[in-house]
Symmetry: C2
Subunit: 520 residues, 2 copies
């Protein structure tokens, strides 16, 4: 099964490693001579929680489930954004929790929250630790301490309903654990974000995650039919039916609340039968605009395949150039990956193939489609390898309506290039498609420079400004955390902020839950 992640890198050490030689050559070509920045390895400050408080916490959930050792605290320090990694590499451990608490049941979560309220201790719900927006960096000033509430012991498949095709999952299950448990019933959740191997069911729900099969399966917030939430004022059970007209949809108020309203202790999701047929294909479109027009046609005619993504010219050129099997002439234009999964895919596949061909697509066959499938969780590892050689790599994403994608694309791209200067690579792909619009996912690579953190933060701010000024969202599937708060406030406006504060003040009146995260 999956392991905990390295405190300074993405993922399992077994999958990490130095840059392949072929990539090293490319990196040197793009960014010049490589440096190897030092990685600091300092020890943590002592836990800030008093002995009395720690003893009380041990009484609540058992001594074995309260961890204060360096390694446990270090592993729950921040998330996995490039700034998080840079801080970890530089030895900055100021955001480490004072203790890690591992409750074993909904009731223990409730009791832990009551203890935290009584002693005014900040509580940060922790799933896979894969946040890339500072979602685990809560404010600690004014609190008696900060506890990371690790949900890892809540990792069971509670029940399945094969008639309704739903499953009740505990929040600490990681992606592969959930899929393995469901597979025993012939079911799949089908939620495959890039963080799949480490992120958890609770985290998917709390951050409105979106997976690579979203075109057919839906976003995680569309997969959730029920939620159980422990709040400081009691328990919320939402989801009496698939959809209904009984007031505002409270599930949609919890989804995306990033642990600020309560701790999600159970998630009931829609599942599907495991696909018996699959096919992954590559297509080529002459331009990013032509590829987007084809995606839009499929979406607006309700004939989307299971997976569809489209790289812009830059990303296409880079991806193809790094493959030896594809000739140089194939690196022009824009690469589209199309995946079909189901019990019987021939009919839909035929319809999609006909439409893409009519819209100017050139079928490139299954080889590159299968390569994409095989490598689809690997990109974060590459980021560490690039950091190892002094190249800053980060991703950011947004979404807008179809009529606004050109403007948004140009604005974000030029903001990043202007901020990071000559030699910056900005790549983009469309990774999620709706009838009315799509997401744009940018990958940025630039020389790390002498002071990489402020250098990146300035570029990120410029890109975020560009998103909001273009009328788009600050995040399609990375959530708000602390990094996006200022732009989130602009996106939803003062009344939107007031609504969230109103809910927060009601369910968490003393403000112990993930303070400073999400809500401006």
């Amino acid at each position: 099964m999956t392991q905990e992640m390295h405190p300074q890198r993405w993922g399992s050490p077994a999958h990490a490693g130095p840059l392949p030689e072929s990539t090293q050559g490319l990196v040197e070509f793009a960014f010049g001579a490589l440096s190897t920045p030092a990685v600091a390895d300092v020890s943590l400050p002592a836990s800030g929680l008093s002995d009395d408080l720690l003893a009380g916490l041990r009484d609540v959930i058992g001594a074995a489930n309260v961890l204060t050792d360096d390694e446990s605290r270090r592993l729950r320090t921040r998330g996995k954004s490039t700034p998080d990694l840079l801080k970890a590499r530089s030895g900055d451990l100021t955001d480490a929790p004072d203790a890690v608490a591992r409750p074993g049941s909904h009731d223990e979560v409730v009791q832990l929250l009551a203890w935290a309220v009584d002693h005014h201790v900040a509580v940060v719900p922790f799933g896979g630790g894969t946040s890339v927006t500072g979602g685990l960096v809560a404010r600690r000033e004014g609190y008696a301490g900060l506890v990371s509430l690790d949900l890892i012991r809540l990792n069971q498949l509670v029940s399945v309903d094969p008639i309704s095709m739903t499953a009740k999952l505990q929040p600490g299950m990681r992606g592969p654990e959930a899929e393995a448990a469901l597979a025993a019933h012939g079911m799949t959740l089908g939620h495959f974000p890039q963080s799949f191997e480490f992120a958890t069911i609770g985290g998917f729900a709390a951050t409105r995650s979106s997976g690579q099969n979203s075109a057919s399966v839906g976003r995680f917030d569309q997969l959730v039919v029920g939620l159980k939430v422990a709040t400081p004022i009691g328990e919320l059970v939402a989801g009496s039916s698939p959809l209904n007209a009984a007031g505002p949809d409270l599930r949609q108020l919890v989804l995306g609340s990033e642990g600020t309203f309560g701790v999600i202790t159970e998630v009931t999701v829609r599942v599907r039968a495991i696909a018996t047929e699959t096919a992954y294909e590559a297509w080529r479109f002459e331009t990013f605009a032509a590829g987007q027009a084809a995606m839009r046609h499929l979406a607006q005619n309700q004939i989307l395949p299971t997976i569809i993504r489209l790289s812009d010219e830059s990303e296409t050129a880079l991806n193809l150039a790094s493959q030896t099997a594809v000739g140089a002439e194939a690196a022009t234009g824009c690469l589209m990956i199309v995946g079909h999964e189901g019990a019987s895919i021939a009919n839909k596949r035929g319809v999609v193939t006909e439409a893409l061909t009519a819209l100017g697509g050139e079928a490139l066959g299954e080889e590159r489609g299968n390569a994409w499938k095989a490598g689809r969780f690997h990109a974060p590892y590459l980021r560490d390898s690039m950091l190892d050689v002094g190249v800053l790599v980060e991703t950011l994403e947004t979404a807008t309506f179809w009529s606004n994608t050109d403007r948004l694309y140009a604005a974000v791209k030029s903001a990043l290039e202007a901020s990071l200067g000559e030699g910056t690579l900005v790549l983009c792909h469309v990774s999620h498609v709706y009838e009315t619009g799509c997401s744009l996912y940018f990958t940025v690579a630039a020389k790390q420079g002498d002071d990489p953190l402020p250098r990146w933060l300035a570029a990120k701010a410029a890109a975020s400004d560009a998103m909001i000024e273009s009328g788009a969202t600050i995040t399609h599937h990375h959530a708000v955390g602390t990094d996006h708060k200022a732009w989130f406030e602009r996106e939803i406006g003062p009344v939107g902020v007031a609504m969230l504060r109103g809910v927060k003040a009601t369910v968490d009146p003393t403000g112990i839950l993930n303070p400073g995260v999400l809500i401006p």
Copy 2:
């Protein structure tokens, strides 16, 4: 274009009329000798708003837009539930608004709300007046008066985006107005609830309406991509993108808020190209369970047609019996209506036909499908005609997951039969289908008796208890209003109620908006 409704009946007088002779015979057979209850016609009490307040209101939106005549006030008294009609027929006009205000712009709505806050006047947003759950019966105690805020002047198509396939609509547009305006651009909203001819865009949004094409088009809350809302603390503009991870989805907090958080002044919706091909077919299944299993198969294999609905054995028998063209033997089993609409329906139609046939469905051809299409907005007129001859007819609906439909169906049916006694007809159909479950829509007919209102309210309470005790929702698409509040509270629990109250206290701190509606 559509007209205002009769104050004591559904719809336009032109479409109303006595029961057809064929139906009269059926009614006499089922319920015995018919009576003709008296209909009272009393005049209204004088407006309770002081002359000073009325003068102030006229200053805000213009004298011509403040109506205090009997007819205007009577037309905005309550909605169109059977209890509403019974009260109107009995001459009970205690819930009449003191005045009707018709602001002409978002800014005028804002100013009207400021005036109402200043003078502590209750404001009831009014669209088509089609509520069947007491959504227009606000609490007036403690207020200086009660104003019906009629959105009828906000009835423009603001803009269309043919690339993103969205349209921005003002809230006072009725269904046919919206469709006509969109048709000029080759677009359709495709939202056809039974109230389509009278209900408005704002009402659809405020109540989470669901239309007859929901299987393909989606519920109204799934059609909305953007909202502009005037609240007492300012303006909310929600919807930066199709979907995103920027916190909880505030659109889903406004949708279903029934005018208690603010007045919706603009709705941006997903639209589609007008269908060039349509086909409506009837199918027969041996049992309600077999028909539901077929629906479930289509939904869980993502091959739903545009329209799908299934009558139980009782509803099938009654519907078919009232048609002369169909032999008596066809009245057994369960009738399913299947509709296909689109640019090219042959492929999907073939897939659906094959699946339904394999699952035991018997194709009955297009005649009854077309008859359903032609008559699909007429049922509410029949209710008045039945009341005219002393038969109480009402509908109620719920939704649950597939594994729970048998239990829910039996519980609601027996609760109604037990409460209303011998000779009660309880009919049911599945009108909306999801991957994980469906709605159950009940029609009840019983002798009116001497005291019809308490007789019906007791039956409605028994049915509502049965829904909640079965773990289902109190309403799939009729909203909460005042009639469902007690059961809504049980459905969402104390923390859910607290969350809604927290939002309400924030955006409407003095509680002028639709007081007593929705929020327990």
